[in-house]
């Protein structure tokens, strides 16, 4: 017994580096500039909250957010044009963050999504005036008890929670690091950085505040669980490989790492690797809302303020699938024979259960939530392909899907009655007769979700299923096509409801939005049609960006 312990001491002493040998860290600020710009804008937003008078905060916050996000997108394009997406791609910040094609593509998508989402966050024409002041969809004061005197006072005073903009920016910053994280601790930290602001944002709805707070608590509790599971997996993987860097773990798995006695001890037992890898993947599957880790999605999507739902549904999925891709393609390809059958099962369950349960939904936000679960399954089919085509198809699908989702949720904010948004599907009956334009736009988004040709949804699904079939997953593709057909049923049902049924008397009215939401919806339609009519350019772009750096 003492012998074993003593040998641990000696190996530890052997491998220890003297303190003066620790190299001074080096940070490539230019290559990390997109993330740094977003975080800088977020910090500036906090200063705006602290120092500016209440009246001028809204304009200042909107300006800071939009400028920051636009500058970050410019920085991403500059990096990609400089060749960091292909030839010059490398790992920055002492091995913590990868700057490569998939990372830059996904970061660009996230920043654009956030830019459009910031417009819907800033919308102030939809809610009726509160005591003569324009208000957005966020609570007057987050800390007041719903229905209390204090809340009424806050509403009368015309308070608005302008902190949502810095919160959005912090979430975006975390989401940008998430798919670029190149070691497990950066992965975990960025997960928390984007999750915590999202929990807060979920709780801040102006209408139906109890529902919103319930959603936030559920999201927080389940999110904390999944973070803990991911962290436990990180610990086990570290126990297995003795390193947290993606490349290092992959080397240990493939057996190309330099063997030390300590490493030989831990790698003799595969269970650390298998359990650890599975737990990290579970943490990520929770964030992409794959079955059986999808339970939070409908409740949270329904309760959260609709602009937040749109942002969360689009950007979280992009970030989490990016991280999942990197994990499976860079760290765990050596044990693909172990994870592929499991991921097959998860993908099939996600597609089928998402599509079937969506059929029974009567609330439009819950319907979109289950549809997002089904879409997670389709994207997983592309992830499993484990080929460059798989990566590029998933990148394309994510870009296409996120704009459709943003647009669809932006339309949901427009259909209102006295109680706020009218989300029950029966209230949408005959919408096409009352406001043909809004109904037509929503129909475009639904057709894109269903994957009808000439929309981005078709190109995305085609690319993903093609990659999956070439990867040998033909049964998966067949099940995917069948569940697409089931999903198409309920999308078409909503279209029929909107256009071919009589409007109810006293039904909801369609609010006329300001230029902000109009821009957001127009951007959604434009991207949906552009990616649907001419997908080849964007598929090529995704194809060029599909090589991970290690």
């Amino acid at each position: 017994m003492t012998g074993t312990i003593h040998s641990l001491w000696t190996t530890a002493a052997d491998s220890a580096t003297p303190l003066d040998k620790i190299p001074t860290p080096k940070i490539e600020y230019a290559q990390l500039s997109p993330v740094l710009i977003v975080f800088g804008a977020a910090v500036l937003g906090i200063l705006v909250e602290a120092l500016l008078p209440r009246r001028s905060r809204y304009i200042a916050q909107l300006g800071v957010s939009v400028t920051g996000l636009a500058a970050a997108f410019a920085a991403i394009v500059a990096l990609a044009a400089d060749g960091y997406a292909s030839a010059k791609s490398h790992i920055a910040a002492m091995g913590a963050v990868a700057v490569d094609g998939p990372a830059l593509f996904l970061q660009g998508t996230i920043v654009l999504v956030a830019l459009v989402a910031a417009f819907t966050f800033a919308e102030r024409r939809l809610d009726p005036l509160a005591h003569g002041r324009r208000v957005d969809s966020f609570a007057a004061q987050g800390s007041t008890v719903p229905g209390s005197e204090q809340e009424k006072r806050a509403v009368r005073a015309g308070f608005t929670t302008t902190e949502v903009f810095p919160l959005l920016l912090f979430a975006v910053g975390g989401m940008m690091i998430f798919p670029a994280a190149n070691d497990l601790l950066t992965l975990f930290v960025s997960l928390e950085v984007f999750s915590l602001p999202l929990y807060l944002l979920c709780a801040l709805a102006r209408r139906h505040r109890l529902l919103s707070q319930e959603a936030a608590v559920k999201y927080f509790l389940l999110g904390a669980f999944s973070s803990a599971i991911l962290l436990f997996g990180v610990a086990l993987l570290y126990g297995y490989a003795g390193t947290i860097s993606y490349g290092g773990i992959a080397d240990v798995i493939s057996g190309t790492a330099k063997m030390t006695p300590a490493l030989a001890n831990t790698t003799a037992n595969d269970s650390l690797l298998l359990i650890g890898g599975a737990m990290v993947v579970v943490g990520l599957l929770f964030k992409v809302a794959a079955v059986p880790f999808h339970m939070w999605t409908p409740d949270v999507y329904q309760g959260a303020p609709t602009p937040v739902t749109g942002f969360m549904a689009a950007a979280t999925k992009v970030a989490a699938f990016g991280a999942l891709l990197r994990l499976l393609y860079v760290v765990l390809p050596g044990i693909r024979w172990d994870w592929r059958p499991v991921m097959w099962g998860v993908a099939i369950a996600t597609m089928v259960i998402g599509a079937i349960i969506a059929v029974t939904q009567t609330d439009v936000k819950r319907l979109l939530a289950y549809s997002s679960i089904a879409h997670a399954g389709f994207i997983l089919a592309g992830v499993i392909a484990l080929s460059p085509d798989g990566v590029s198809s998933v990148l394309f699908y994510l870009a296409a899907y996120s704009f459709v989702t943003l647009g669809a949720f932006a339309v949901v904010t427009l259909v209102r009655d006295a109680g706020g948004e009218a989300t029950h599907l029966s209230r949408w009956a005959g919408l096409g007769r009352r406001s043909p334009l809004v109904a037509a736009v929503f129909a475009v988004f639904l057709l894109a979700f269903a994957g009808i040709p000439l929309t981005s949804g078709f190109a995305g699904k085609f690319a993903v299923f093609k990659a999956a079939a070439q990867g040998g997953a033909v049964p998966l593709v067949i099940i995917g096509v069948i569940s697409s057909a089931i999903a198409a049923f309920f999308y078409i049902r909503v279209i029929v409801l909107m256009f071919f049924s009589e409007p109810q008397p006293g039904g909801p009215s369609v609010a006329v939005p300001s230029a902000l939401t109009s821009t957001a919806i127009a951007a959604g339609v434009a991207v949906t049609l552009a990616l649907g009519v001419a997908p080849q350019y964007f598929l090529d772009l995704a194809g060029k960006a599909s090589v991970f750096v290690r």
Binding site: M1, T4, I5, L8, D20, T24, P25, K26, I27, V43, I46, L47, E49, A50, L51, V145
Partner: protein, 119 residues
Amino acid sequence: MNTYVPILVLGALAAGFAIFSVDMARRTGPKRYNRAKLDAYECGIEPTPQPAGGGRFPIKYYLTAMLFIVFDIEIVFLYPWAVSFDALGLFGLVEMLLFVLTVFVAYAYVWRRGGLEWD
């Protein structure tokens, strides 16, 4: 397995000591009723009143504790840097300034929003 024996023994000893102490205190200590003993423990200060019939409870202590942790963590980072700042050079100085700046921004927010006022 053998490597874990010491830690298991340590755990058993700790549990045994805890049970023994609590039991001994119960058997030998005097029991005199005092209202203050039944109050919630808040660092020895008089407890903040609980709301009647549920509802909100004051979070002053939590706020103070959170702020304390923020500045405590700042010190945790500042101290090792101060010890070896010459070795870290300009890089360390810049990073440390950035770090302190973000903490100060948070501090400015808390201060302007009245987070430092007790009532």
